[in-house]
Amino acid sequence: MAVRALGILSAVGLLVGLVMAFGVAPRETTQGNVQRIMYVHPPLAWVSYLAFVVVAVASVAYLVRRRPAADRVAHASAEVGVVFTGLAIATGSIWGKPTWGTWWTWDARLTSVAILFVMYLGYLLLRGTVEDRERAARYCAVLGIVAALDMPLVHFSVYWWRTLHQPPSLMKPGGFTGSSAILWPLLVNVGAFTVLYAYLLAKRVRLLRAEAEEAFA
């Protein structure tokens, strides 16, 4: 079964990623071993953004074609995305305490992710309040599109608002200064978390479909 294969692949990937994060990657000189959080935090943040891009794409697809399957993908991706976003914030906060000396600073990236988190919590809240499934699908599709288009605006506004920040570690082209000893473990973890996301998404979509079928029977 394809879903199970994804699950096994993600488990293996995460295991390899863990070994690389602690066995292969060197101890960073300025931050010390705390920097090893980097092998979990940026992958989580990456998956958060990915999940909400998937929400937006599925939302557009739903509004155009009106297939319940597209709506289920949007719903599932939002839910999985909220879990990952929450974790990205938590790990970022844990990383911040020893490096910045505080659990929370209004750092541009942290703030952006926090706003993302609140927006998609609202999205799930809206899902929960509308009983008619078809209407919930339409409303959430619109919200998903608005939220996704809002993201660049949030990014720029927060970025200009708080210019004291480090540039994102890898996302910026040419901005990466770390050695390949750091790069590889990071990439492996990004890959592993992405597969994990795909697995959870598939599982959640399958569950939603089964629930819908049950409602029909």
Partner: protein, 239 residues
């Protein structure tokens, strides 16, 4: 136009959450025909009407108006259909005339003042034309919404309890209007609760119960008592 019924409802299902209100409803209304849709509270009469009117989409099945699908070609259907539901579609702070002008402009064909006056006169509202709808009784609001229907040339009328709250005069006028509408070749589907004289316009009676059409019979030759008896026999839990 005799081969395709103006309204064709085939295998409509509509579920709200886990609960199916309509479970495979099929019904045809031909040109020049009026069908009265009966059924107990919550039988799904209004839901069915709203699906044909393109206000709701069916979970499964299809409804067509003059061959156009109500879900996929909703815009085409909307040009052919006149609808009056539970709400009167009025704004309390606008006058009767302003309400009519608003809807006719929104429909794309701002009617001239004389047409609006004529429509108001038809439902006996010409003297109240300049009064705010806030001051109107329920029956007057109802009449105003019927006046709105006359502004728009429709081939299909979908009416939800059109006679409720109307006085004798207005009833008579509406009966006349609907008869003329049938003569022009229109198709009428109306929901009703009462089994009294408003069935007079109807050529057929359909009873909706348990999510399906449980009875579909010509009205001709049926006495009031027969209708009562048939209705009681076909509604699962009589109200």
């Amino acid at each position: 136009m005799t081969d395709v019924p103006l309204i064709r409802i085939s295998g409509i299902r509509k579920a709200f959450g886990a609960q199916a209100v309509l479970d495979g409803v099929s019904l045809d209304v031909r040109s020049g025909e009026a069908v009265a849709l009966l059924g107990g509270n919550g039988a799904g009469k209004t839901t069915l009407l709203k699906i044909v009117a393109t206000i709701m989409r069916p979970t499964a099945g299809a409804a067509t108006v003059a061959g156009h699908d109500c879900a996929r070609a909703a815009e085409t259907v909307r040009r052919l259909v006149g609808f009056a539901g539970h709400g009167a579609w009025v704004y309390d702070e606008l006058t009767a005339r302003e309400n009519l002008r608003f809807w006719s402009t929104l429909d794309g064909g701002a009617s001239p003042d004389e047409t609006l006056t004529a429509a108001l006169a038809a439902v006996d509202l010409e003297r109240a034309a300049g009064a705010r709808v806030r001051t109107f009784s329920a029956g007057m609001k109802r009449r105003l919404s019927l006046a709105r229907l006359t502004l728009r040339p429709a081939r299909v009328l979908l009416l939800d309890e059109p006679f409720s709250g109307l006085d004798q005069r207005a009833r008579k006028w509406l009966e006349g209007y609907l008869e003329a509408f049938k003569l022009r070749g229109g198709a009428l589907l109306m929901v009703t609760h009462s089994l009294g004289r408003e069935l007079g316009v109807a050529d057929r009676i359909a009873v909706l119960a348990g999510g399906r059409i449980s009875l579909d019979t010509p009205r001709a030759g049926l006495a009031d008592d027969d209708v009562q008896r048939l209705y009681a026999a076909h509604v699962e839990d009589p109200v």
